[in-house]
Each structure stands twice: as C-alpha cells, then as structure tokens.
C-alpha cells in the first residue's frame, strides 16, 4: 500500500510538472519542448497506469533522459554543424535587417532639432507603459509624436520649461529624467515617421533629431541598397555581401544553413588546415604513446614484482596504487605545478633549466610523463591479475616442451594477456584521444606556435574544438560543431574496432 501511494505521488508530480510547463512552452512557441513534454508525460502515464508493459516500467525513465540529454544534443549538433551559428550570426534574418537599418541612421543635414519631453497616459514610473514624444520645434511650435506620425499640439494648453521643453499638458503625465533614462532601448528604438524615409529619434533624454536610414531594404528582392554610395548588398549564407565584387559585408548577420562548408573548410581553408592536421597527428600520437607507455611500464612492473620468492609484494603493490586512487584532476594540477619552469619541483630538484611550458616538444614530453604516471598503475593492476590467473600447468607444459622463461612468456603468457587486455587498451586509446582534462588543466593548449591564437601546439582536437566554441576569440558554434561530428566519427570507428575484438575474444573462448 505505501508503495502504491509513492507511485501515485510520483505520477502526480509528473502531471503537475507537465501542467506547469506546457503553457509556458506554448506561449514561447517552443514546439519541440512542448511536444517532448506531452509525449513523455503520455508515455509515462501509459506505462505506469497499466498492469502490463512491465519491462517498460524499468526502462522508460532512463530512456527519456537518454533521449533528451544525450541523443537529442547529438542531433542538434549535427544540425548546427551545417549552419553558421555563432558570434555575428545569432539573430533571425528579420532582426538582422532591422539592426542594419537601425545602425545606418544618419541625421538629415539642415533639418530642425527638437527639445524632447516624454509623457504617458499611464503611470510614469512604469517602464512598460506606452509613451509619446512632446517635441518643441525651433520656432516654438509644439508637436506630439507617436509611431503613427507627427501632429501639432495647441501651444496654449502646455507649460514649458526655461529650455523650451514641455513640462505639462492636459491628460498626460510627464516622465522625470530618471524615468526616461530607465526606458533604455525602448527610447532608443522609438521613432516618429515623417514620410520620405525620414523620422524623428531621441538623442540623449532631452532632445530629438530628424534622421534617415542610409541602408534601404527591398522587401521584394531581399537586397539592401546603400543610398549614400549606391552599392547593392545581396544575402548569402547569413550575411549581406556587396554585389560589386569588393567582398564587403554588412556587420549584422543571421543564422542560416551553410551546407557542407564548415566541413570543407577544415581541409580547404589554409589557415585552418595546417594547424588542424598538426593537431590531429599529435592527438593520435598522444593517445598511442600514452597507451603503449602505460601498458609497457605496467606490464614490466607486474612481471618483475610477480616473483614467488619476492618479499614485500603487498607493500610495492599498495605504493603503486596511489596514482590510480588519487582523483586524476588533482594529480594533473599537481604535476602542472611541479613542471612550472620557474618554481616547479622537477627543475629545482634535478637542477634542470627546462622550459616545460614554453617549448612545444618539452610541453608534449611533460604531458606524456604525467599521463604515464596517471596510467601505469591501472595497467600494472590489470596485468598482475591476468599473470596470476594464467594456469600454472600451461607454463609448466611449455617448459617441458623445452621453452625457456622468455619463450614461455612470449608464446604462452603474453598472447593470453593480450587477449584479455586488448579491449582495455582500445578503450584507453579512445579515452586519451579525447583527454580534455589533461590539456585544459596542464597547458591550455600552449605554447601557441602555429601562428594562431586559437590552435595551440599541445592541443588535442577536443580542446581545440572547445576553444573555438567557448574561447575568448568569439564563439564559432557551427564550425566547432562540425569538428565535434568529425571527432564523433573517429571515436565511433575506434570503439567499433574495440567491440569487434571483444566479440572475437568471446567466440574464441
């Protein structure tokens, strides 16, 4: 009975969550989120209110989380990788057009300027209330300006300040300077059309000018014309590009599909290809050397310390386990400090003057040494376990057949060992291929010697991609997304190779 109450309580919570979130999603036109909430809620109720579908009761919660936070982000990443999404391309096309028009407004020469007062029929302290402009012309004429246009207002109904701006008028409440200032962008965007492309705009909080947009958008063709120079700009992949062949573009762009250009750019853009290929080669080297070095040292130690007459085995074993037991991020930060060229322990203890962080090759050596330290105890443990489980009579049989210790190891123990650890070696390779923490915590990709501030010489593809998306140089989500997809494909290929090895292993045993 209490179990039943808990179940009903949880289901009620799910329904309550849906009831709370659906109106919000609806009013924000988030149809994907809306659909996801509806479908998940219906599926949950359908599964848990029934006596049947028992297996689904155990699978549904995890699956929903998996689809929402792991599968969907991958699909979204794929979509983004075919777009120019990122800095300069966050807007929709309509907002980009509006921003370009807005940015191009210039004062009309010799046009009158006005003293400005802002008034509302509502509460002047409410920053969301509708407001109008009261404008005093150079001749003392009073106008009222709204988004509909300009009309004159009887002079004798208003009171004026010494500077000529209106301070009161029947039926209106006037905003004080602070309240006007609080309108912010609403004030800056407010324009009173005069016809012929001219309009009145506020400048500061107490005056207004007649302005005119120099960029004219043609709704029919979708092109911009610069009225000052006559240059035409046509939209191309999220940017307005000059059609006169100068290659000039307008600053505000919008989010648009760019086809495969993010992918082809990796190989065709010479400023990216060079650094990227170097990074890719280093990524493979880093992963391979890490796996081979940790396995070689781990196995060597396991063989050496797995001797029947060796005393104190447990002491050695426990000592060697510390690097494995320590959280890796702590160890990496400690090693990074020990390799500090100026103050670090490595240079002072061994009286070296090595520039571990400034020289590309020393920095790579530093990463590999640290990774060896982090990884060899695990390989040692695994190898030791396998060595101890190799049947003694197999070795004995080899000896009987005339094999010496080395040959017996080479032909009997090692193949058995490799069979067991091969999937581990492959997964260790896949892990190191994307060992983001190592690079981020140790070098941050430095030193930067490829003539680029984004591609560092110790960067792995993953840390390079991360910097493209989140570094200080401007977010390039689309391009970084394409690189992530490439990484996905490489990692999947490695993992599938690993999987096939395991299946081979299974059928063999």
């Amino acid at each position: 009975m209490p179990a039943y109450l808990v179940k009903m309580g949880l289901l009620a919570a799910v329904v309550a969550l849906a009831v709370y979130s659906l109106p919000e999603l609806y009013s924000n036109h988030e149809w994907l989120g809306f659909g996801a909430v509806v479908v998940s809620t219906v599926v949950i109720l359908w599964v848990y209110l029934s006596r049947k579908r028992i297996h689904l009761k155990y699978l549904v919660p995890g699956t929903i989380l998996l689809l929402a936070f792991q599968v969907y982000p991958i699909a979204y990443l794929l979509q983004i990788s075919f777009s120019n999404y990122g800095d300069g391309h966050f807007l929709t096309e309509a907002s980009a057009v509006a921003a370009i028009v807005q940015d191009s407004v210039q004062p009309v020469p010799n046009a009158p300027s006005y003293s400005l007062a802002v008034a509302t029929k509502g509460n002047p302290a409410d920053p969301k209330a509708n407001f109008v402009f009261f404008l005093t012309g150079p001749t003392g004429k009073i106008y009222i300006g709204t988004p509909a246009g300009l009309s004159s207002f009887p002079v004798h109904d208003v009171k004026l300040s010494p500077t000529g701006s209106v301070t009161s008028a029947p039926g209106y409440n006037f905003l004080g300077p602070i309240e006007v200032n609080n309108l912010g962008a609403r004030l800056a965007d407010y324009s009173v059309p005069l016809g012929h492309g001219e309009f009145i705009r506020a400048v500061g909080i107490s005056s207004a000018y007649v302005g005119r947009a120099t960029m004219q958008f043609d709704q029919r063709t979708g092109d911009f014309v610069d009225l000052a120079t006559g240059v035409k700009y046509a939209p191309y992949r999220g940017t307005f590009v000059a059609t006169n062949g100068s290659g000039d573009t307008l600053t505000a762009g919008w989010r648009a599909g760019v086809g495969f250009s993010n992918y082809t750019r990796i190989l065709t853009d010479s400023s990216i290809r060079g650094p990227f290929l170097k990074i890719l080669v280093w990524t493979f080297c880093f992963a391979l050397i890490s796996v081979v070095s940790t396995f070689a040292v781990g196995l060597f130690l396991a063989i050496v310390l797995n001797h029947p007459r060796l005393r104190g085995k447990a002491v050695y074993r426990s000592g060697l386990l510390f690097p494995w037991a320590m959280p890796a991020f702590i160890s990496i930060m400690v090693w990074a400090s020990m390799f500090n060229p100026q103050f670090g322990l490595v240079n002072t203890l061994f009286h070296l003057h090595v520039n571990w962080t400034g020289n590309e090759w020393w920095a790579k050596a530093m990463l590999l040494i640290t990774n060896l330290w982090l990884g060899f105890p695990y390989m040692f443990l695994i190898s030791l376990g396998v060595l101890q489980s190799v049947p003694a009579d197999l070795i004995e049989a080899a000896h009987v057949d005339g094999a010496n210790g080395y040959r017996a190891f080479r032909n009997v123990t090692f193949p058995l060992l490799l069979l067991t650890v091969e999937p581990l070696l492959i997964s260790s390779f896949a892990f190191n291929f994307n060992n983001f923490n190592m690079i981020q915590l140790m070098t941050g990709g430095a030193p930067y010697s490829y003539g680029s501030a984004i591609a560092g010489s110790t960067d792995l593809v993953i840390s390079y991609t991360y910097r493209l998306a989140f570094g200080g140089q401007g977010a390039q989500y689309g391009f970084a997304g394409a690189l992530s997809i490439v990484l996905f494909i490489i990692v999947a290929a490695i993992s599938i190779a690993g999987l096939r090895r395991t299946q081979a292993f299974r059928t063999m045993t």
Binding site: L65, F69, Y76, G319, I330, F343, W373, N437, F470
Partner: protein, 309 residues
C-alpha cells in the same frame, strides 16, 4: 616418472654449468634473482609517490608559495588549511558541497536507473530487447563531452523559459543523468545474469510481484556491483571538467575541479599553491582511502566489465 624428468634436466644443466663457472655465493644469487626486483620496485614506488609526498608537504608548509615548496617541509603547520577555509574569494567549502551534492545525486540516480534497465534486460524477454542492448552499446561510444556545445545552447534556451534550469547546478545533474543508461547497464546486466533465476522463480511462486523481486532480491544481491560502479561513477563525475566549466560560472556554484583549477590557473600558480595543496589533500585523501579499501573489487570490476561488454 614424469615429475622426475624436468628435475633431471635441471640437475644436468647445473652440473654442466659448474664445470665452466664457479658456484656463485648466495648473496649474488639473491641479487640476480630477487634483489634487482626490489630495486625496480623501489624506483617505481618512488616515482609513484613523490608527487603525493610533494602535495602533503606543500599543504603543511607554512610558506604557502610554489617556490617555497619542496619534498620536505621546514616547519609543519595547518596555516594553509585555515587560509583556504577562510578565503572569501575562493569558497572551498561551497565547492566541496557542490561536488558532493552534484556527483552524489548524479551517481545515485544514475545507478538506480541503470540497475532498473539491467534488471529488465536480464530477466525479461520482450521485442526490441536485443535492439535496445545494442543501442545502449552504441550510445555509450559517444562521450557527452563531445556535444558540450549543444548541451550548453539547449539549456540556455530552456533557461530563457524556466530560469531555474538555465546552465547551472541543477541542469548539470540532468546532463550527467543523460548518460545513466549508457555507462553501467551492460556491466550490471552481466552481474544480474549471474544471480540464479531460481531465486526469482521461488519468490514468484510465493506470490511476490516483479517490484518485490527487484527491490527485495536483485537490488540486495547486486549490492557489490552497485558499490563498485558507484565509486567509479562518483569519481568520474568529480573529474568532469568540460561541461561543468561552462555550466558553473558563479564563484559559489563551482565544483571542486572548476574551483581548484581557477585557484592555481591564470598566473596565480605560485601565490596560492599552499592553499591549493591543502584543498587537494582534503579532496584526494577521502577518495584515496576509499579506493585503497575497495581496490580488490574496483580493479576486478574493471576487468570483468571490459571482458563482458
């Protein structure tokens, strides 16, 4: 007869050796057979331990800078610890609490979700069972680290509508839960497969429901694998940097990895090293103790999982 033959061979070979070389004194024999192994072992342990000795001594060293740190502290004091715990710009205790809560919640819920799924895959037969297992295997190949861009963008847009789900601690837990099924389901299914089905059948005969079998029998008997995968998953999420670094930007919301990397990053490596070492020790020591206590199971579980998946 067969046991005598190898001995006989050995006897012959030693006999022939004595004719060419003089017999070695026992200490020389010891060095060649066992002694050099001690030498290798001591060098390896020294390599393994010296960073750890360095952290401990730096944490106790009252000078508190990197260039003042060495393998042996001159005077031991808890100065760095008290400095770190009272430093308002680096709220270490907040980081610790965030890490414990985020990793703890993510681990416990993840384990529960994956053991549920493992139970279904192990004990029930349904359409798409094979397909589901294969799909999980496929999905776990893609580390969520690679989709950090879209995870971030996704939670930014969710946060525009529901501010409590904007990139931050709550959404970070959700991100970690997304990987729940992928990581451990296969391993746990392998373990549950070894629990005899006779136990379930007997319980069914006694009138137990599937939920009673799951919570009463399977979950209890699977406790060892839950502990092992729990420890590994917990430390795994303590180590997560890429997503946490983007999601947790305010000082008090950071996890240990984000906070500590900020403490010695950006030119402050020297100044705050003593405090960092104190923090590293407080973070690392509990984990090291747990790992050493469970080492047999942890290492065993790793091999088993690799072979079975």
């Amino acid at each position: 007869m067969t046991t005598i033959t190898p001995n006989a061979v050995v006897a012959v070979s030693t006999a022939s050796r004595t004719t060419t070389k003089r017999l070695r004194p026992p200490w020389q024999k010891w060095v060649l057979e066992v002694g050099w192994r001690h030498l290798v072992g001591i060098i390896a342990v020294a390599f393994a331990l010296f960073p750890i000795v360095f952290v401990v001594s730096s944490a106790l060293n009252p000078i508190g800078t990197l260039n003042g740190s060495g393998l042996v502290p001159h005077h031991a004091s808890l100065h760095n610890f008290s400095q770190l715990l009272s430093n308002p710009s680096y709220p270490f205790l907040d980081w610790m609490a965030n890490s414990l809560v985020i990793s703890g919640l993510a681990t416990i819920i993840s384990l529960f979700l994956s053991v549920c799924a493992a139970y279904a895959f192990s004990r029930m037969r349904f359409r798409a069972r094979r397909g589901g297992l294969l799909a999980i295997l496929l999905v776990q190949m893609f580390p969520s680290l690679l989709s950090v861009i879209t995870l971030y963008l996704m939670f930014v847009s969710i946060g525009n509508i529901f501010p409590s789900l904007a990139p931050g601690r709550v959404s970070l837990v959700l991100v970690y839960l997304g990987t729940a099924l992928g990581v451990n389901t296969w391993l746990m299914k392998g373990y549950i497969d070894t629990i005899p089905t006779e136990l379930d059948e007997a319980a069914t005969v006694d009138g137990a429901s599937h939920a009673q079998i799951f919570f009463g029998i399977i979950l209890r008997l699977a406790a060892p694998i839950l502990v092992v995968t729990g420890i590994i998953a917990f430390v795994g999420s303590l180590n997560e940097l890429a997503i946490a670094n983007i999601f947790l930007t305010s000082g008090t919301a950071k996890t240990l990895i984000v906070g500590l990397s900020g403490l010695i990053g950006g030119g402050e490596q020297n100044t705050y090293f003593g405090q960092f070492a104190a923090g590293a020790l407080m973070t690392g020591a509990p984990v090291v103790i747990i790992f050493l206590a469970f080492q047999r199971y942890l290492a065993g579980g790793l091999v088993q999982g690799a072979v079975k998946s």
